[in-house]
Amino acid sequence: MNELILELKSIKRCFGKITALDDFHFNVKPGEWVSIMGPSGSGKTTLLNILACLDTPTSGDYLLDGINVASFNEDQRTVIRREKIGLVFQQFHLIPYLTALENILLAQYYHSVIDEDEAMAVLVRVGLEHRATHLPSQLSGGEQQRVCVARALINQPAIILADEPTGNLDEENEAIVLKFFKDLHQQGKTIILVTHNPEIGQEGDRIIYLHHGKIVEKVYF
């Protein structure tokens, strides 16, 4: 029954007169890596916001792990997001006055209780144990993004949603971050990754192309 981890059924998301997503159907199996591509303004971030339970669709159903969350209120969405979803942003978005370690602890604090050893272990995984006490402003872009990935992983979510995670990185850091996503994919995490870079797109199991809020092309590898 739970063959699909994510299932969007004729989702529509309007902002006033703008229809950012239009009659959108989209299914993801557990452990799949789906790349989302498309021109600017095609609705990629809007889609991710709905998948992340940050936003609610104007109409349509969204089954997350078999639960219809389309009609959830803000608090219910917060709870389910904490449990199931890790977010990686293009602009990293770390809290500027908290250290690398504290930024990770914060996600843990909102989720349950803080455990410094566990948080340190994730930092080790992204190779930043020596920068634990540094503030985001003291880290390079690549390092900040690795902290962001570590933060997304701390509560062991089944799904990682990333919006152009390498968009602001040089090639070297892009490779490092991409390596994490490959590892996570290998460990069976479900990954949905928005990108403008076709090479990164091809790392997924498939790519869907968006245009004006609709899927215009699907490529399977």
Partner: protein
């Protein structure tokens, strides 16, 4: 983690925090002043009003039925009993003599003013301001109506007690007869020769004497042929508020046991002072003037109501101030709040941060306000009552609670904004 966030939250944007603390502190200061004074005012006001108002009246013993109408005593003076002016020094000789702020004797005859023969006018003889020796003549004491009616306003000058023709005319009478300072006035008693008086001043501020002419007591004594005659004495005494014991003494004087009697006698209750005056002055009937005490109660109630209203108004004003400050600060941090929500913060997580901060700011503001308020109350207390105001232990917690309540109320109104911040901003990079 929470305290780590709080620490940063508090230290950030210090200017706005200071503003919030100052807002709360101002409110707390006012509250602290009001509370200090309000609590202190009962005793202080009683004292103050007692020393203003005559609160004991001494009458001759048989003066049971007197016919006072509009300040005019229509009883003929003949055949009545009088107090003796020579007994006046005994008033200061009682156990609580030092609590006697002042006294003044009275003797009144109805007179007719030449030119306005229709209406009799009371000619009131009294002491304005004069030295009186005490019983054994070793010490002198200055007294007179000036000391028991400090709220009187005189246009012109007070009469000189040594000038028997000096007169003070009530404002209403002066207006009715078009009399002014410096003019003279001829008055005639029922039986006797007319006397010419010189108006030195016009009196306002006391309804009782609004239609009267006041002169040194000797003038009336001569007109009435009653040397040393006094028909009443008003005494102003400093007394402590009534207690169960003093009420018992008043209603059932015989029911007091020896200890209770001693305690009552040695406490400056109006009733014990009155009792001692009765003992000291021959043929005297001493009556505490209770309605003065009741007036004091009513005044105090009104002042306390006023203070309550002010407290409420300040609360609302300061609460609105804090709400605005908090809203601005939430607005400014909306990016950060959106991110917190995106990574799993519920509204209550964010709200708690602001609430904790509000409590902290409230406590700081409250402590500052309490201390400032204590300082100001001392100044005000000194100004109004020429005495310090005792710091009351209850005021601290009251002001503290008040300050935190302002801060919390303000914050709670500001908090509605948190709900409106959408976490979608995080992914869009709009933070």
């Amino acid at each position: 983690m929470f305290f780590r966030l709080l620490e940063d939250s508090v230290l950030r944007n210090r200017r706005r925090k200071v503003l919030a603390v100052v807002t709360i502190a101002i409110a707390a200061t006012l509250m602290s002043v009001l509370a200090h004074i309000s609590i202190d005012i009962g005793n202080k006001m009683a004292k103050e009003l007692n020393s203003y108002e005559t609160n004991i009246r001494i009458l001759p013993k048989s003066e049971g039925v007197s016919l006072f109408l509009g300040g005019v005593d229509y009883n003929p003076l003949k055949g009545r009993f009088f107090l003796n002016e020579k007994d006046l020094p005994r008033i200061k000789g009682i156990f609580w003599g030092n609590n006697i702020a002042g006294f003044s004797p009275f003797l009144t005859v109805p007179v007719k003013i030449t030119g306005y023969d229709a209406i009799p006018v009371p000619l009131v003889g009294t002491f304005f301001q004069r030295q009186i020796g005490d019983v054994d003549g070793s010490q002198s004491f200055e007294t007179g109506i000036r000391f028991i009616k400090p709220y009187w306003t005189i246009q012109g000058a007070w009469p000189d007690d040594l000038q028997q023709n000096n007169a003070l005319v009530g404002k209403a009478l002066a207006d009715a007869l078009n009399l002014g300072v410096g003019q003279s006035l001829q008055v005639t008693p029922d039986k006797g020769a007319p006397v010419v008086l010189q108006i030195t001043g016009i009196l306002s501020g006391d309804d009782t004497y609004d239609h009267a002419v006041m002169v040194p007591i000797e003038t009336v004594q001569n007109l009435a042929g009653l040397p040393d005659g006094v028909e009443s004495i008003d005494v102003s005494a400093m007394s402590v508020p009534e207690s169960a014991l003093s009420r018992k003494a008043r209603t059932h004087p015989d029911s007091l046991d020896v200890q209770e009697y001693d305690l009552w006698y040695c406490t400056s209750y109006v009733s014990s002072i009155a009792h001692q005056l009765e003992e000291a002055i021959p043929n005297a009937l001493v009556k505490p003037v209770w309605h003065v005490a009741e007036t004091q109660g009513a005044v105090i109630n009104k002042i306390q109501l006023l203070m309550f209203v002010m407290t409420l108004v300040i609360f609302i004003a300061a609460g609105l101030g804090v709400a605005t400050i908090i809203q601005t600060s939430i607005l400014e941090r909306s990016g950060e709040i959106a991110l917190m929500k995106a990574i799993g913060a519920a509204n209550h997580h964010v709200a708690l941060l602001f609430v904790a901060e509000a409590i902290l700011l409230g406590v700081i503001g409250g402590v500052c306000g309490y201390l400032l308020g204590m300082g100001f109350s001392q100044i005000i207390g000194f100004d109004l009552f020429t005495s310090t105001i005792a710091p009351s232990p209850i005021v601290g917690p009251v002001v503290g609670t008040y300050a935190v309540a302002i801060s919390l109320t303000g914050t709670v109104f500001g908090l509605t904004r948190i709900r409106r911040i959408s976490p979608t901003a995080a992914l869009h990079g709009r933070i």
